[in-house]
């Protein structure tokens, strides 16, 4: 099966989104870095193979997997039930809170302030699906999905968007990074925490099992906290368990 194939081939090819700091981005030499990149490397080390990072925009994660371009996805992928019909997801390896980031020039101070404004998010993400639903519910305003997280913040910074919803980590990184002037975080988005999973082909139980254990080990050994500290900052890493239910 896939697990054997990976070990036999000697490389693990991970789909990683590289315009999603701090989870994935590029350093000044344009090499991939970030939480997900390290996570993939750890997984490869555990398997005893070499890691190969395949840059994949959000909308292309599943096609990339399906077309066999990658073996697994370490790509901040929310574990929705709809998606689980098509792909196999592991237990969560990270959990995002989502924040509302706005352009300075708007008067938005709470998430409800987005009502009637032009808002956007990265096409194909959890928060985009939520936000688009929200705009529909409000019945006013406009929703625009962009192809990459960078395009979203670029548009926000240019004033083409009034507000966006993104994971708090990404929002913090972009606001602090200083590359996008004129934006600020104003509120949390009232969403269920966005649990994200590793994924692979639906029928690859062996690999899914292996990755479940791997995630468990990352937490147990303290590597999870270490990566959190390295990429996100001080404080408690997000809790990966849900009160009152298994898994």
């Amino acid at each position: 099966d896939k697990l054997d194939d990976i070990i036999a081939s000697g490389t693990l090819r991970c789909a990683v989104v590289l315009d999603f700091p701090p989870m994935g981005s590029r350093d000044e030499n344009n090499n991939p870095v970030g939480f997900d990149v390290d996570y993939c490397n750890d997984l490869a080390t555990a398997l005893g193979v070499k890691a190969e990072i395949v840059e994949t925009p959000f909308p292309e994660r599943i096609p990339a997997l399906m077309s066999g371009r990658v073996d697994v996805g370490v790509a901040s992928t929310s574990d929705t039930l709809e998606r689980a019909k098509t792909i196999g997801v592991t237990i969560p390896y990270y959990a995002f809170e989502n924040s509302v980031t706005v352009n300075d020039k708007t008067d938005i101070t709470t998430w409800e302030g987005m009502k009637g404004k032009t808002v956007g998010a990265t096409a194909g993400t959890y928060e985009a699906i939520w936000l688009e639903g929200q705009v529909k519910e409000w019945g006013e305003g406009e929703f625009r999905p962009y192809q990459t997280q960078a395009d979203v913040f670029l548009a926000l910074s240019q004033g083409q968007l009034d507000a966006t919803v993104s994971t708090t980590e990404v929002a913090n990184a972009n606001v602090k990074g200083g590359k996008f002037p004129g934006i600020k975080i104003v509120d949390k988005a009232p969403m269920v925490p966005d649990y994200v999973s590793l994924f692979t082909m639906r029928q690859e139980y062996g690999l899914i099992n292996y990755m479940n254990l791997f995630i468990n080990q990352q937490v147990r050994t303290g590597r999870y906290a270490e990566l959190y500290k390295k990429w996100i900052g001080e404080g408690e890493p997000a809790n990966l368990t849900v009160q009152g239910v298994y898994r």
Binding site: S25, E28, N30, E55, P63, S67, R69, T148
Partner: protein, 217 residues
């Protein structure tokens, strides 16, 4: 004029993207042209009715957005057939077919532009079909077809900007990656546009020149 954070590594990174653009273009144009010649000759030779299935397939290649062709073929090979092909391969397959569809038309036009009597003269000197094709039709049809072919090759280069969807980092994608990091959209886009322009414009002009020259005599 521009105060930029662009470093020399970034320029190398862009150059790599440009190299990928040229590589994809070169492979697709070469394969597409060979296929296009074969398809064009077949279509000319067996007549429109028998060639209908081929015409239909080639027509499809021209009637569906390249983006969809790329996504679809990618999904087909990967999901349905289960082949682990790199994105570059899929990109080249799609672009080659796309090229061949247009090239077949150009080739057919070129062959039809060779007067039947000239070919008759060749055959009546005892030349075989192959000799006639090689010695008479090829050189004459080339004159008619070359300018359009140059246009086609440049079109393929420009359309190769779309292969980013199958994870091939070509020039425009490299530019977008740098825009992500450096936040200088206008400046980077201008560099990128200038690159395409510098390659495309002189060749397009050359094609126009050939057309003018050869249509005169």
């Amino acid at each position: 004029m521009f105060d930029t954070a662009l470093t020399s590594t970034d320029l190398i990174f862009l150059a790599k993207g440009a190299g990928m653009t040229l590589l994809v273009t070169a492979i697709s144009v070469v394969i597409g042209t060979i296929l296009g010649i074969i398809f064009g000759v077949i279509r000319y030779q067996i007549g429109p009715i028998w060639a209908a299935p081929l015409t239909f397939v080639l027509d499809i290649c021209r009637s569906i957005p390249l983006l969809i062709q790329l996504v679809l073929l990618n999904a087909f090979f990967g999901m349905v057939v289960g082949l682990r092909w790199p994105g570059l391969t899929v990109a080249c397959i799609v672009l080659s077919l796309y090229t061949s569809a247009y090239c077949a038309e150009i080739v057919r036009g070129g062959i039809e532009a060779v007067p039947a009597t000239t070919r008759r003269a060749a055959r009546s000197l005892g030349m075989t079909w192959g000799q006639d094709m090689r010695q008479i039709v090829l050189p004459l049809a080339t004159r008619v077809a070359l300018p359009s072919w140059i246009g086609l090759a440049l079109g393929v280069m420009k359309d190769s900007a779309l292969v980013y969807v199958v994870q091939v980092t070509e020039l425009l994608k490299s530019t977008q990656i740098l825009i992500t990091r450096l936040q200088e959209p206008l400046f980077l886009l201008l560099i990128c546009g200038a690159f395409y322009f510098i390659i495309s414009y002189p060749l397009a002009r050359f094609g126009g020149y050939l057309e003018k020259r050869w249509s005169n005599d």
